[in-house]
């Protein structure tokens, strides 16, 4: 078994010497950069938990390719049990990190590509599936992190990829050679890109005739020549540069996004999984999105657990925990959070075995899951802010608390429940701020809205699978629509005697 230790993972990422830019400067020691390090800690947690026997049931799976134990993040789901354990693993990691732990996109990419490469081969006589299975085994054998790169910048949304004035608005093939292809373009919002050993590129929309160069899927090392990362800003990110952990809220962990640029990157044929077969790009997009919409029914729930816990602790520290409205708000937060979990599990339990042999979630329920994710975390965050109180956004800084003259004043006036040290009250309020307004809000709020597709994308999928005609027939049958009406049988109701 080749499971990496967290330390081996950190070193392996450092050894890649990725081309990362932040605040207009190239970042060389990115694994130790204070803004980036918390996100690396998140993925390190996926390695750490996998080595602990008490988490093995969720964190490890048995590879169908080799029969060996592998990290579940590199696993091809072989049952509905695998699908539900994936969701539970994601909840666990959301709880342990309180942020986006980033390794899901690669897992969802390999599971989508597994069935699409098989079906492409069946229909077109191509050889994608066998080479893709070899690639999955490479990920498993070396316990690697893969970034699933789907979202193109897209330019003018009213134009097809091949109609864009700038052809690089969608990543595309610029050259086909005997030994491989050369690609150019970019992928936006790439979660965990700077923490990954590998990149798996997929098209971002269903392609049409004329878009053949854009219907491309492949993998390449994260440090392939021509790949550059421009690190995304997060709300309050520079607090991580202030040298104290208090005002960050969650000093250990955080998410990460980047704009990933491909400047004429060469990809050998054995790493190409789709190239010009436009009719399969839509299925790949839908399946990846489906798996990722399932994912949110686990990861966001785990982060929700942390936020509910933070709000409840803040209530304790404010001395307000016994108020009935506080208890009721915590119940409501829990109800919303568990509803999301229910959706994640439901689409897993109703999953199906694909002709390729892997298991796929129920698409309708996965889209319902994500549609709820676009709403419920916002309400959970609103209730957390309600319970925490305004102090979470008006508190003096850590520098003020540490100041010889100002510090005692801050300490005097920030007292809450009598037994609670002020520093602890400040810590928990900063955690609520981090999750609702700070760096982690990128993952918990806006990513809940737009990650794995914006709300309208789910509504289109829900409409397509809603089986509305069946519902109409049910209603018509019960209402008697179409039945002849005999007016002669109508009677005036008669009163029943009280006797």
């Amino acid at each position: 078994m080749a499971l990496k230790t967290p330390e081996e993972f950190r070193q392996s990422i450092a050894d890649l010497h990725l081309q990362i830019y932040m605040f207009g400067e190239k970042v060389d020691d990115y694994v130790n950069h204070p803004v980036i390090r918390p996100s690396i800690n998140c993925i390190a947690m996926t390695y750490e938990l996998a080595r602990l026997p008490e988490y093995e049931d969720l964190m490890l799976a048995t590879s169908h390719l080799t029969g060996k134990k592998v990290n579940r993040f590199t696993h091809i789901h072989q049952s509905t049990d695998d699908l539900s354990k994936k969701v539970k693993m994601q909840r666990l990691l959301g709880q342990k990190t309180g942020s986006c732990f980033q390794r899901c996109v690669g897992m969802d990419a390999i599971n989508a590509l597994y069935s699409v490469t098989y079906e492409t081969d069946q229909a077109r006589g191509t050889q994608y599936h066998e080479r893709f299975k070899n690639y999955v085994q490479y990920l498993q054998d070396n316990d690697l992190v893969a970034d699933g790169a789907m979202t193109d910048p897209k330019g003018d949304r009213g134009l097809a990829p091949h109609q864009q004035p700038d052809p690089d608005m969608y990543l595309h093939v610029v050259e086909r050679r005997d030994d491989g292809i050369v690609v150019r373009g970019a992928k936006a919002h790439q979660t965990g890109a700077c923490n990954s050993h590998e990149i798996i590129v997929m098209p971002t929309v269903a392609m049409r005739e004329g878009d053949e160069d854009y219907a491309v899927s492949f993998s390449c090392p994260a440090n392939a020549e021509g790949v550059t990362y421009i690190y995304g800003r997060q709300s309050c990110d520079t607090r991580k540069l202030e040298g104290n952990d208090l005002d960050i809220g969650n000093a250990q962990f955080g998410g990460q996004e980047a704009l990933m640029v491909f400047d004429d990157v060469f990809v050998p044929w054995d790493r190409v999984f789709l190239c010009g077969e436009i009719e399969f790009s839509g299925a790949l997009v839908e399946r990846f999105a489906g798996f990722h919409r399932q994912s949110y029914g686990g990861c966001k729930v785990g982060v929700g657990d942390v936020l509910i816990g933070a709000a409840a602790t803040a209530a304790d520290m404010n001395g307000a925990a016994k108020a009935s409205h506080i208890k009721d708000k915590l119940i409501e937060m829990t109800h919303l959070n568990e509803t999301l979990f229910s959706c994640g599990l439901a689409c897993s339990y109703e999953g199906v075995r694909m002709p390729a042999g892997n298991y796929q979630i129920d698409m309708l329920l996965a889209n319902v899951c994500k549609q709820n994710i676009t709403r419920f975390p916002y309400e959970i965050a609103r209730l957390a802010e309600d319970i925490a109180g305004g102090l979470m956004v008006t508190m003096p800084s850590a520098q003020d608390l540490a100041d010889e003259k100002i510090g005692p004043i801050v300490e005097k006036y920030l007292v809450g429940q009598c037994d609670t040290p002020v520093i602890d009250r400040m810590r928990i309020l900063r955690l609520v701020e981090n999750l609702t307004l700070g760096t982690a809000a990128v993952g918990y709020r806006t990513e809940s809205m737009h990650g794995a597709g914006s709300p309208q994308a789910q509504r289109i999928m829900i409409a397509r699978q809603s089986n509305i005609n069946h519902k109409k027939e049910l209603a018509k049958a019960l209402a008697g629509v179409g039945k002849p009406w005999d007016k002669g049988k109508i009677k005036v109701p008669t009163a029943v005697s009280a006797d």
Binding site: I76, Y118, E350, G351, V352, R353, P355, A356, G357
Partner: protein, 114 residues
Amino acid sequence: MTEEQQAEPVRRVKVVYCGGCNPHIDRSAVADALPADDPDVGPGATVHLSGCPRACASDHLLIMPRSEDDVRGAAGTPHSSDDPPVVVVAGELVDGVPTPAPELAPTITRKLKE
């Protein structure tokens, strides 16, 4: 047993239905359109007929695995020619391939004879 009942052909295709909670297709109509006594359909032929893509009639399998290798997920494992034919219908999917509702019965019949 009446003479009329005795005259009914013996159905050579076994149909396994799902529970029918969310039918995207008319399962009864599909079953009725299957060959009743076609000699080209071998004995033991089975159709798992689910109304929607959740494939409950086949225990969530979109295509029936025939060998231990296939159960483990090695896609493309050839089915044994000795096995009786088994076709999985899950809404507008036949053995995992999208198939419009009017084409379901002809497609199933063709696969049963393969």
